[in-house]
């Protein structure tokens, strides 16, 4: 019988998982060619507008394979439902038996995406982070800042909020968290004041300009995961000393690198895959004066790693062994 896990059960075990560690291991396996990830399956709906994606794959010689279904139905909030829906399925790679159904409603995708941002910052941020800049104030922007708390002692943050209605909820989210949050009037203000910046918006025009970025800054671009979204002036990629990307193949069709290659500002060969840079630190930031960029479009190996970890943690717990 498959284990069925609801959102509250998943939330309960998450704090016991070293998410950054498993996401790092996943990227290394991916760049090492040890992960099988077929093209994403897609369904599109017109009325109401919506889309569903099926991401799936496995790490070779591992115990499980994972299928993730994630959908976005953007009129859902009108009827009091979250836009994002979804689940992850864990199957045995040896027998095909479905071991677990994780009814996470998109939470694990949010977490694995935020964890990738923290992994990128741990690898690429300058030694001394003076101020953390965040563009965006949605779920992913909040999670990015929370996860950065685990990789830098810096607690000063400057946040540009695209929609003023999101300001108060964002501030409330971090009340008592130890973070000192200030609200910026523009993306430029963030660019000029911060040396670790995460962009987490659905923008379709560049928000950060190359002329505003100081030496020694690291930027992680999380928002652009399609061909039409963009957050960084493509000139930032040509300016950067190190450009890292989660998936080189995906950068051929989406994300900041895709756009910068299109506009002639960047050559894809100059980018290093995150899993390669994690395995070989000489390929990442070499001094505190360099500008570094990490472009994240989201890779199925992150889903594989987090789904497996949640299932293993619940199983370990129920078998009474210490975690």
């Amino acid at each position: 019988m498959s284990l069925i896990l609801n959102l509250d059960e998943i939330q309960r075990v998450l704090p016991r998982i070293d998410v950054l560690k498993i996401i790092e291991e996943g990227f290394v396996a991916y760049s090492d060619g040890r992960v099988v990830v077929p093209p994403v399956g897609e369904l599109v709906f017109d009325d109401p507008p919506g889309e569903a994606h099926i991401k799936y794959g496995y790490i070779k010689n591992d115990d499980f394979y994972v299928i993730k279904i994630a959908s976005g139905f953007y009129h859902n909030p009108r009827i009091g439902l979250p836009s994002s829906q979804g689940m992850m399925l864990v199957f045995s790679q040896k027998t095909g038996v479905c071991e677990a159904v994780l009814l996470d409603r998109g939470l694990l995708t949010d977490i694995r995406t935020a964890a990738a941002g923290a992994v990128a910052a741990r690898l690429l941020a300058p030694r001394e982070v003076q101020r953390i800049g965040i563009l965006g104030a949605g779920t992913q922007a909040k999670l990015q800042l929370q996860h950065l708390g685990g990789v830098t002692p810096c607690r000063r943050s400057l946040v540009w909020v695209p929609d003023p209605d999101e300001t108060e909820p964002f501030l409330q989210c971090f009340a008592g968290s130890g973070f000192d949050i200030e609200i910026a009037q523009s993306p430029s203000e963030v660019a000029r004041a911060c040396n670790l910046i995460v962009t987490a918006t659905p923008s379709t025009r560049p928000l950060l300009q190359a002329s505003e970025i100081s030496r020694g800054t690291h930027i992680t671009a999380v928002g652009s995961d399609t061909a039409d979204k963009i957050e960084l002036d493509p000139a930032i990629l040509s300016l950067a000393d190190v450009v890292v990307v989660d998936s080189l193949p995906q950068s051929e069709s989406r994300g900041e690198i895709f756009r910068a290659v299109q506009s002639g500002d960047f050559e894809r060969d100059s980018a290093v895959e995150l899993g390669v840079a994690l395995a070989d630190p000489t390929l990442s930031r070499r001094d505190d004066d360099q500008i570094t960029v990490c472009d994240l479009t989201g890779v199925a190996v992150q889903d594989i790693q987090i789904a497996k970890a949640v299932f293993n943690e619940v199983r370990r717990e129920s078998s009474g062994r210490p975690s």
Copy 2:
């Protein structure tokens, strides 16, 4: 909260579903261009050997979309597990919410495949079936014969059993069923004695020869669903007056028609899609002297229809309304 249905709950509601009716409606919608079915997703495993397929899609302007995961791990019986594993997932087409997880372990795929055979026989078999011929004695062969019981009064059956060990289980399965089962020594014996024949084997060489088929016979070929499997001498397709196929696009890469086109015995344009023939009876058998063939490779709309029906039946039941 998604409804989770186990195998026994699914088995309990199945008898209340008019499976032939919904499968027929599905084929008609499919041939009418009202079904969205992207290419099948696939994962292949080496050690132990196994494969998983993801079939998914929806009928336009319907309530749900469906994802089916089906796997075959052929060493499973060595550890006491069935080779086939799988589940079907029912999602709202309006919100993306997962309405139901059907942990059917492949049962619904078996049933929808058998139902397609019965639909084909109801449309194409001669008015008077003298004897039902079955090639194969596995799960699908049994289900085909059982489902034919609903579309013809004939209860005389002649069965060719590829593996002698399957003879006794097959006979036991039909003990007390009203079927009079005889065992044939060869496929030829079945071909010569029966005017309604279903082939349900994983054969990779033709089992039925054109020279053995009598006028007035209908043959449904169920076993070949890949490029290398074949059950019918390709000359049977050129001999047939009417050739029907569940999916013309799929017949470009798999099944009997694929093989007969490859060998130059048949032109794909001569085949009619099952959904078209169901909607327009002038395109099917015109008299009891004709030879007809139906080639089934399995279409995702069958999965969509049966998963929806099981979910709707459970929901109707739990809401207390009469079914």
